[in-house]
Amino acid sequence: MLDIKNLHVAVGGKEILKGLTLSLQPGQVHAIMGPNGSGKSTLSYVLAGRAGYDITEGSITYNGEDLSALKPEERAAKGVFLAMQYPVEIPGVTTMTFLKTALNAQRRARGEPDLDAIGVLKLVRAKAKTLNVSEEMLKRPLNVGFSGGEKKRLEILQMAVFEPKLAILDETDSGLDIDALRLVAEGVNALRDPSRAMLVITHYQRLLDYIVPDRIHVLAGGRIVAEGGKELALELEAKGYEHIVKVPA
């Protein structure tokens, strides 16, 4: 589903990713772990298509297509979803209006008919319940005044509503207490599906206690420097990154 080959990415002329190779199949959950500044967020942004992240070498292929040639909105319509580390606050747009606009934009791009307001409301309500997202939250302006936990829950709610094929979770655990973390992880696990691939990006092993990955890649200095099964996370937690990673200069 996702094939990243020898990916080099520069931000503002500075090379951050220096030859990253990664392959992800449907139904799989892979984790990317790495210390601060290793290029984790750069990877998530370049997959989602944020401006200013220039691919200088290598390729990203998504379902046989060159992902880098697509606009962010085209990627979303084709099933790429990035749960962001810092979801933005947008005063003046209610959460419900945003969800409806985004869902219908994706449907339109895929040639599917729009869902009417009632249809969207029903869909969102059903998914919101399990994630403990209240009606009141849906009426508020998008992310405005939301706590860290509420913002992350809303990201996962979007994932549930948009039903992406490839979900990238960027530091979804950051800023969450243990209860919020459990709730978010349960939401993510409920979306594990044989047709869906997930890339879980995290600094800490903690999240991976709840979202157990099929494979772990350790990112350092812009490259994958170690790979292994779920036990690799425990080793990193016990011994720290420096022990495993010989950070390239």
Partner: protein, 373 residues
């Protein structure tokens, strides 16, 4: 009282206004107040002319009295309120030159629920007067029709505990040059709530001078401007807290694209002894291109001791992070920009209390945003 003209105006006052205008001439950019709106150069050779612009009542609800200012024998309420002395140059010009206009009154204690709809059209000068007597209430919907150069002098007199909501929508008027001077006087406990939505023209300027003349008087001004191409829109306000325990708020949101220019100049004066005055002023502008310009100039002039005054202004561009967020959720760029612009303007639109009018302004904005995308 001798020498009453067809406008119900003592000859002496008309001469006084004419003398004031002659002394000052057509305002231009070297006059501080007109720095961002060069009326003289926009008018060119033609100058301000002496034509008579038209007014038109599209809906006159029961209970609103009307007097055509070209008629003779003006009633007492017109004589008592019309053409108070003004120091405003263009208002003086409209007084000196206008041969037409309308006076409207809502009598004491009368509350009108249906909006009064008043349009100004054609080129030239025109005067208007709206009197709300004590305890009266009204919604005024002002329309701005076509006309190459029009100068409207509009006076408002709000009695004690009266309430006026004023909504003015000024559609994209292309090459037109439009100026309007409003002078609003608010008695004790009276409330003036105004919203100005502007889509600009070659030069559009609206000046509002508000005097909070009695304790408990309130003025709440809000407005949006959405400009593209070479449009210009200038809102210049002056709120005077003449007595204490008066309250004013201002919230203006402007979006300027293309080569357009959005201007907000807002002065708040708190007079000596006007303790307990409370004023809040906020103006924000978004620039959509390198050639667009926004000039925001909030100003405070305080002569009293115990007051609460806040003001702020900010010019920025569309937040790149928000735009990316929306696009990453599948919303195409043009639609995402429209959504963010609409969101930016929304809190100023939300200030309109009349539901129908609020929806109307929203719809106008959405249509214009689509056209800009």
């Amino acid at each position: 009282m001798t020498g009453i003209t067809a406008l119900g105006l003592p000859e002496a006052r008309r001469n006084e206004a004419a003398a004031l205008f002659r002394a000052r001439g057509v305002p231009h950019r070297r006059i501080e107040d007109w720095k961002y709106s060069d009326l003289k150069s926009a008018l060119g050779e033609g100058g301000i002319g002496a034509a008579v612009a038209q007014w038109q009542i599209l809906h006159q609800p029961d209970g609103v009295e009307l007097f055509d200012l070209t008629q003779s024998n003006p009633p007492e309420w017109v004589l008592a309120n019309f053409a108070r002395t003004t120091a405003n140059t263009m208002s003086a010009a409209s007084l000196a030159l206008s041969k037409g206009g309308v006076a409207l009154r809502v009598p004491k204690g009368v509350c009108i629920t249906n909006p009064l709809k008043l349009d100004f059209t054609a080129a030239g000068h025109v005067r208007a007067l709206l009197v709300l007597e004590d305890g009266a209430s009204l919604t005024l919907v002002e329309g701005v029709g076509p006309g190459h150069f029009r100068n409207v002098g509009f006076e408002f007199v709000l009695g004690e505990a009266s309430v006026l909501e004023h909504v003015r929508v000024s559609p994209d008027a292309g090459e037109a040059v439009l100026v309007e001077e409003m002078s609003v006087r608010i008695g004790a406990g009276g409330q003036y709530r105004a919203h100005f939505a502007a889509f600009g023209s070659k030069l559009s300027r609206m000046e509002v001078e508000i005097t909070l003349a009695g304790a408990g008087a309130q003025a709440h001004l809000s407005g949006v401007a959405l400009l593209d191409g070479k449009r210009h829109s200038d809102v210049t306000t002056h709120v005077i807290h003449a007595v204490g325990n008066t309250h004013s708020t201002q919230l203006f949101k402007h979006v300027a694209g293309g080569n357009s220019r959005a201007v907000y100049q807002g002065k708040v004066t708190v007079a000596q002894g006007a303790n307990g005055s409370d004023s809040n002023q906020s103006a924000k502008a978004l620039l959509l291109g390198e050639n667009a310009e926004a000039d925001l100039k909030p100003e405070l002039e305080i002569f009293a001791d115990d007051v609460k005054c806040a003001h702020g202004a900010a010019v920025g561009d569309l937040d790149a992070e928000s735009l990316f967020y929306l696009r990453a959720r599948g919303i195409p760029e043009a639609e995402a920009r429209g959504l963010l612009l609409h969101a930016f303007l929304e809190d100023a639109v939300a200030e309109i209390s009349n539901t129908d009018q609020r929806e109307l302004v929203r719809t106008e904005l959405l249509t214009a945003l689509k056209a800009m995308a």
